[in-house]
């Protein structure tokens, strides 16, 4: 039962948080896309994606733990994330970048285990 309640709670939160900014969609501060507030929101959104990526890939380890427990696979992850980024910039092809990096990661996983 608790899990169902958590799912309902998460769904309500997601709905409210997704919808809340639209209540203020006509406010001057939000509608000026060159204004400081809009840029702050936009950059914070990008930064949040970066934080989520680090937390997911490196299991939320802080810098000290990462350095002390650094393994070959962590190095592979760093290299592949950088490569995925550079390949998209150079080729403009996201699919190519995603699949090439994923295949390389799976190959590394097989080799290292």
């Amino acid at each position: 039962m608790t899990l169902w309640l958590l799912i309902v709670f998460s769904a309500l939160c997601a709905f409210v948080f997704r919808g809340l900014p639209f209540v203020f969609k006509n406010s001057a501060a939000l509608s000026q896309t060159e204004g400081s507030l809009y840029r702050f929101i936009s950059y914070s959104a990008q930064a949040m994606l970066g934080v989520i990526v680090y937390d997911t890939a490196f299991d939320k380890r802080d810098a000290l733990s990462l350095v002390h427990e650094f393994q070959t696979l962590d190095g592979v992850k760093l290299v592949l994330l950088s490569l995925a980024f550079v390949v998209v910039i150079k080729t403009k092809r996201m699919l190519l970048s995603f699949f090439a990096s994923l295949l390389a990661y799976l190959a590394a996983l097989l080799y290292l285990h």
């Binding site: 939160c13 948080f17 900014p21 959104a45």
Partner: protein, 236 residues
């Protein structure tokens, strides 16, 4: 009737882009289905996370820690907070759209749809809402189907290797998405500062890192930009 009021060309453009921006969802939602089955969630619970939450990190959290109960509430709030940022960045561009349509489409607002939306805005801004639906709807439908397939195949596919592979799906997807912002350095810098700042600022912010780190970086970026602009204005 629908065809007249619905610009098909832009919708098709969105559907086409959904393949690029949403392909990773096939793997992500197969994974969520697999995890749901192996963590002893019911089919209804696993599917409900996709149907009503549609947030990959949050769904992974729920299906991986189904027994953590109310301890998950702060993390749920933090993970959902990012939607405020995504919606706030989208809102000014679709403010002409009716409240009913926006309400019905809120579930489609995800980082992938957001990135596709923002990338298109750099060169075109017509029928932005239609484009968002074109990108988001196929991704959402495919995600629902993949959740079901993953759940049905769950026990056969579960292994430590598959779990380890799953851990990199989301990071690779989001990083490739970030590359689509090139050459908009401010957005790119924010993304990588978030990535680099996460392991450092977590030492200070602890459990609130996911909530606070992005805002610190966002504020720092705006301050730097405003100072640069002020210098340029002075110089000219």
């Amino acid at each position: 009737m629908i065809a007249k009021s619905f610009p098909r060309r832009v919708f098709k453009e969105g559907v086409r882009d959904a393949i690029t921006f949403g392909i990773a969802f096939v793997f992500l939602y197969l994974s969520i289905g697999i995890l749901g089955a192996t963590q002893a969630l019911s089919w209804g619970q696993t599917l409900a996370t996709t149907l009503f939450i549609f947030s990959t990190p949050l769904q992974f959290l729920l299906v991986q820690h189904p027994n953590d109960g109310w301890l998950l509430i702060p993390v749920i709030l933090v993970l959902n907070a990012r939607f405020v940022l995504l919606s706030a960045a989208i809102a000014p561009h679709i403010r002409e759209t009716s409240t009913a349509k926006i309400t019905a489409s809120l579930i489609l607002i995800t980082p992938s749809v957001f990135t596709a939306f923002v990338t298109r805005l750099k060169h075109r801004n017509d029928h932005s809402f239609t484009y968002m639906i074109g990108v988001g709807l196929p991704i959402f439908v495919v995600s629902i189907i993949c959740t079901c397939i993953g759940f049905m195949a769950g026990e056969h596919l579960a292994s430590p290797f598959v779990y380890a592979a799953m851990a990199m799906l989301l990071p690779l997807q989001f990083t490739a998405l970030a590359g689509k912002h090139w050459p908009h350095y401010a957005e790119l810098s924010s993304y990588w500062l978030g990535f680099i700042g996460a392991p450092l600022l977590v030492l200070i912010f602890k459990d609130y890192s996911l909530l606070l780190t992005p805002f610190v970086i966002g504020a720092a970026m705006v301050l730097v930009e405003n100072r640069r602009k002020a210098r340029e204005t002075k110089a000219s």
